[in-house]
């Protein structure tokens, strides 16, 4: 007991030893399992569940004996992971039984940031938070409360947005969002209306059936499935390569997928859009595109008014089943003609053309695209992206000569202010080739179970519950209207409002997931924000740097303790709790309890949120998640209990599920093809709806908003990084290297740095640097070095390798749980986000800041940061301390 106490003291430093005794002995309400509860003695139960060590959902068989998880293995029945697990998932037991789990709700004692705590009950914790929320709402307005979530560690995104909508604040954000995935989701939703091509986000489902795909080539752009989703997408790409599918990898780092590619294009970080525009120009110039598809099924033949940038309509439609009628230039008559949807054989629309009508110049979308990419010759692309022209050409040809194919765009381009344009340009490349909904393409609308209303997480977001006047207060919501697709606020705008009080001062921060000190750009600024706040709550599975600055800590469940519905290809799966430790709680329930207490304290909307009739399809809040999953599963006549017993559950045969050419299906209402899920029902490569979005917020905002300062561009444009290494840059003289970051296969976001099996394999981050740069800056292989940007400096171990682009350095994000109880709080030693840039320029559409493509200098350091652990035996104190399950946590 004393040894355990001492260990806990290291991490949490509770105020007194008396408190500790309480922590470790357990209260009356904490009912331990009796022998009979635990099941037949020593019998091993094998329970099917799903992993959540990252955002994949790989099938797992958990071996449980006497209530304790003793082994994990992959479930061969899983349609995506096929029996494999990655290193992160396999370490699940070490995460579950980590001695430093957050075990009970804790309240700060002493000053904020001292990291001293006392145990409180759940009832007290929820009451304290709810009272603080109500008091702040009363005094300053609900909008001064902001919440954040993120992808790291068993996340559940929509509960937080739902709570915000019901409580009345428009301000929640993620460190990801505009910096991760949203740019691709937005561009694809607007241009196509189906699933995007992200392998790491469990889309691109075509790749999981190598035996029947017609795919001939795969472009992995800024993504490395072998690292980011090893057991699912990573393995699928292995299968494709083995089958002979050609691959092109665009990445400044020689990742495993790059090493195995037919063509590797190491691109300068931040210059991806220039390379994409080069690809597009080459494809147009050489007429490599699918001309028939482009003419009939994209909007490139439609005429655009060059003064307003809007499409020319012959007729607008009031019937949502029918699109507006657009004008094309007919070659036969040489005049503009309306093109009835979907096509008119009597017309011969010109792809590359223009005309004047009433003195106004009109051009086809194709011509505007052609003009846009005009400067991006192979030579220009090579110069901007630090490549050779023939290497670029070889990459393009490897793709265009091997069709059908697909371009999977990863997170890399989401992490620069050119984010949305990258997603648009990548989609244009794939769609020009006709790679949509045909066998072998990544962009598909395979069928779904129908039990989810929201993407990925089923919790209903209740977006309509946020009053319009509150929505209009969303920080960053006017300039960056693309954020409304996820109902999210803009992180930097929220932080700037805290620091300046303009337009109002946010005061309370409730966070779940990960270590926000390691996940948000410019960590020192995050700390300045923290110092300004009245009240901070952190809910997570274990303490992080961020916890140290909180007022209340709430213990959440690990994935092995969580009940969640998951859809994997043509199956539904249960991530089911195979044990439950201490007083941890599923966050989907925490938010419900918080809403309930706010209701009891007089918050009318929170009170009504428990009224089934009032909430309607938004559903009332729940006592347990089981109710919620039962509700959704009833749509296919299943209960949660049945799904748990029968997971994975095939809701539809594979052949029925894998539906190609959805757009060609006949709409029974109109007797015409259903087309794509866009306003024109065509693929919108000229993205007119960007203009509408920027001016009004529609279709994503619940009400019309004031216009952004400038219209969003309907075509992709290249934006050179503001910290540019190119000739003419002042900054490059003192900060000569371009920095990027990315995955290693042992961590997901800020997770697992406290797990011995991961840390012994990757104890501290390496800085990958090319030998020519190392020589220039007097750095040797294995040296500790400083990496410094305009915003701060950190250390890493230099690793000299040919496998990184000269002029570029790469480093994995990191934080050090072992120094959590020191003055650095574990985030100041090796955290890449100390260096990254949270301020303008932002992406116009979604507000992305700069995580990749910042300028740094690198120089030798005297040694490692103080107190960090590097030797395997250092991590021994973090080895699992198995515990018996808790039967029930009472509030």
């Amino acid at each position: 007991m004393q040894e355990q106490a001492a260990k806990m003291k290291d991490m949490l430093d509770p105020a007194t030893v008396d408190d500790l005794e309480l922590v470790l002995s357990g209260p009356e309400s904490f009912a331990p399992l009796t022998e009979s509860d635990a099941g037949a003695d020593d019998e091993v139960q094998k329970i099917n569940t799903c992993c959540r060590a990252c955002i994949s959902n790989c099938g797992v068989i958990a071996h449980v004996r006497n209530g304790r998880v003793i082994k994990l293995e992959g479930n061969p029945e899983d349609r995506m992971s096929k029996g494999a697990m990655c290193a992160k998932g396999l370490a699940g037991i070490q995460a579950l039984y980590h001695p430093n789990r957050n075990k009970y709700p804790m309240q700060r004692v002493g000053e904020r940031g001292e990291n001293k705590w006392k145990r409180i009950s759940w009832e007290e914790a929820i009451d304290i938070i709810a009272r603080k929320l109500m008091e702040t709402r009363e005094k300053y307005g609900a909008e001064t409360v902001f919440c954040s979530t993120g992808g790291g560690g068993n996340p559940e995104i929509w509960s937080i947005a739902r709570f915000c909508n019901i409580f009345g604040t428009p301000n929640w954000f993620e460190p990801g969002c505009a910096q991760c995935y949203l740019p691709r989701v937005l561009a694809t939703a607007m241009m196509y209306g189906g699933d995007d091509s992200s392998i790491a986000d469990s889309n691109a489902l075509e790749i999981y059936f190598p035996e029947d795909t017609e795919m001939q080539s795969l472009v992995l752009w800024g993504t490395d499935p072998s690292y980011s989703c090893t057991a699912s997408g990573g393995a699928a790409v292995v299968d494709l390569r083995a089958k002979g599918v050609k691959t092109v990898v665009i990445d400044p780092r020689l990742t495993p997928d790059a090493a195995k590619a037919d063509v590797w294009l190491p691109v300068r970080p931040g210059s991806d859009v220039a390379l994409m525009l080069t690809w597009i120009r080459y494809i147009l110039d050489n007429r490599l595109y699918d001309a028939d598809f482009v003419l009939r099924w994209t909007n490139l033949p439609y005429l655009v008014n060059t003064e307003t940038n809007m499409l020319l309509r012959a007729e607008t439609s009031n019937d949502p089943a029918s699109p507006d009628t657009f004008m094309v230039l007919d070659a036969r008559t040489g005049s503009p003609r309306p093109l009835p949807y979907p096509w008119d054989d009597n017309l011969d629309p010109v792809l590359d053309g223009g005309c004047h009508i009433d003195g106004i110049e009109y051009k086809t979308g194709y011509r505007l695209l052609k003009e846009r990419v005009e400067p991006y010759t192979l030579e220009k692309g090579a110069e901007l992206c630090w490549l050779e022209p023939d290497r670029i050409e070889k990459g393009i040809r490897m793709f265009t000569d091997n069709q059908p194919g697909g371009l999977a765009l990863g997170v890399a381009t989401d992490q620069t202010p050119n984010s949305v344009q990258a997603a648009m340009a990548a989609n244009i490349i794939d769609l020009l080739m006709g790679n949509v909904e045909r066998p072998g393409a990544l962009m598909q609308r395979f069928r779904k179970s129908g039990v989810f209303d929201m993407p990925n997480y089923p919790v209903p977001i209740a977006a309509g519950r946020l009053p319009d006047e509150q929505l209009k207060k969303r920080l960053g919501g006017i300039e960056h209207k693309g954020l409304h697709i996820w109902y999210a606020g803009h992180a930097t705008s929220i932080f700037d409002a805290v620091l300046t009080g303009e337009p109002y001062k946010p005061r309370i921060w409730i966070d779940r997931s990960g270590n926000k000190m390691g996940a948000i750009a410019d960590s020192h600024k995050v700390k300045r924000v923290i110092d300004e706040l009245d009240f901070i709550v952190h809910m997570y599975m274990y303490p992080t740097s961020f916890s140290a600055y909180a007022d209340i800590l709430l213990p959440t469940t690990e994935w092995l303790e969580t009940d969640m519905m998951v859809e994997t290809c043509n199956t539904l799966c249960a991530r089911q709790a195979v044990t439950h430790l201490w007083e941890t709680m599923d966050e989907t329930e925490i938010w419900s309890r918080l809403a309930k207490r706010c209701g009891e304290l007089g918050h009318e909307a929170c009170r009504l949120a428990f009224d089934a009739e009032y909430m309607g399809k938004d559903l009332p809040y729940w006592e347990s998640v089981t109710e919620l999953w039962d509700h959704f599963l009833s749509r296919i006549d299943l209960t949660w209990e049945q799904l748990k017993q029968n997971t994975p559950y095939e809701y539809m045969s594979k052949d029925e599920w894998k539906t190609y050419y959805v757009y060609q299906q006949t709409d029974p209402q109109t007797n015409l093809p259903v087309g794509f899920n866009t306003p024109s029902k065509k693929i919108e490569l000229y993205l007119e709806s960007m203009i509408t979005l920027g001016r009004t917020g529609l279709p994503f905002s619940a009400c019309e908003l004031e216009p952004a300062t400038r219209d969003y561009d309907p075509l992709p444009y290249f934006l050179e990084p503001s910290e540019s290494p190119l000739a003419g840059s002042e900054l490059v003289r003192s900060f000569p290297l371009v920095m990027t970051n990315g995955r290693v296969p042992l961590y997901h976001h800020t997770t697992l740095r406290n797990v011995p099996w991961m840390r012994e394999l990757y104890p501290v981050p390496e800085l990958l640097i090319h030998p020519t740069d190392a020589e220039k800056y007097a750095v040797e292989h294995g040296d500790w070095v400083w990496i410094e940007s305009l915003r701060g400096k950190i250390r890493a171990l230099a690793s000299l390798t040919q496998g990184i682009m000269p002029g570029v350095v790469f480093m994995e994000r990191f934080w050090n749980p072992e120094t959590l109880d020191s003055k650095t709080r574990g985030w100041q030693e090796m955290n890449v986000n100390v260096l990254t840039k949270a301020d303008a320029p932002f992406n116009d559409v979604v507000g992305t800041y700069t995580l990749r493509g910042i300028l740094v200098k690198v120089y030798k350091a005297d040694g490692p940061p103080e107190g960090i652990w590097q030797k395997p035996e250092d991590f021994r104190v973090w080895l699992p301390e198995p515990a018996d399950p808790t039967k029930e946590v009472r509030l």
Binding site: C86, A87, A235, V238, R241, L761, P765, K871
Partner: protein, 209 residues
């Protein structure tokens, strides 16, 4: 001596993506101590000059040699070949932890178990074989790069894949007369003839050993 059953590993390096899941699967299955590994994934390369590079990953574990120096030098007979499977095992009851086998192994793949004070190495998950399962690393491999089975059975996975592969693409670790049985398939890169212990460790791990 020719064994009737000769269980071996065949690893298709074109399918290995260096994810290290085999290392963790092994740790989970066999409770290998921190700082020790029965299997390690080495990175070979990058070789060549930027941007024309080659790199592949090489999982290494006991090579189940036909002429095992570790068996020859073991003073107590703890290292022995199992007749029923043809593999090399260490009998923990009689191993005295003298490390002779570590010194004799040309690849330094026998390791010292600091907790039990005896020698340890890949035993091809003999306990899983007993219940009809494959070794943990093979079973879990995300790239489906690892194969296990009886080299003397023409219908086994290992025989089939070796039969289908051009012999020019089948390699072993350097052989100094010990005749390693593990086979590596590499088609798309050039095989680098190197002893595992000579492959540089990543800079962030090299202080550990």
């Amino acid at each position: 001596m020719k064994q009737s059953v000769q269980n071996i590993m065949v690893i298709d390096l074109d399918r290995c993506i260096g994810c290290m899941a085999c290392q963790v699967a092994c740790k989970l299955e066999n409770e290998v101590a921190l700082g020790a590994d029965r299997i390690r994934v080495l990175t070979i390369g990058p070789t060549g000059t930027y941007p024309d590079l080659q790199m592949y990953f090489l999982p290494v574990m006991c090579q189940q040699c036909e002429e095992p120096p570790c068996v020859a030098v073991c003073p107590t007979g703890a290292s022995y070949r199992r007749t029923e499977a043809g593999d090399i095992q260490i009998d923990r009851d009689i191993c005295i932890g003298c490390q002779s086998c570590y010194r004799a192994c040309p690849y330094a793949l026998n390791i010292f178990n600091n907790e039990l004070r005896i020698m340890d190495k890949c035993d091809q998950c003999a306990h899983l074989q007993k219940i009809g399962e494959k070794p943990a690393c093979v079973k879990n491999c995300p790239g489906r790069a690892m194969f296990f089975g009886d080299a003397n059975d023409p219908d086994s996975d290992v025989s089939r894949i070796l039969c289908e592969t051009d012999p020019a693409h089948v390699h072993t670790l350097p052989d100094s007369g010990n005749r390693p049985m593990t086979r590596y398939i590499l088609r798309k890169s050039d095989w680098v003839e190197i002893m595992p212990q000579e492959v540089p460790e990543p800079v962030n791990r090299r202080r550990q050993r």
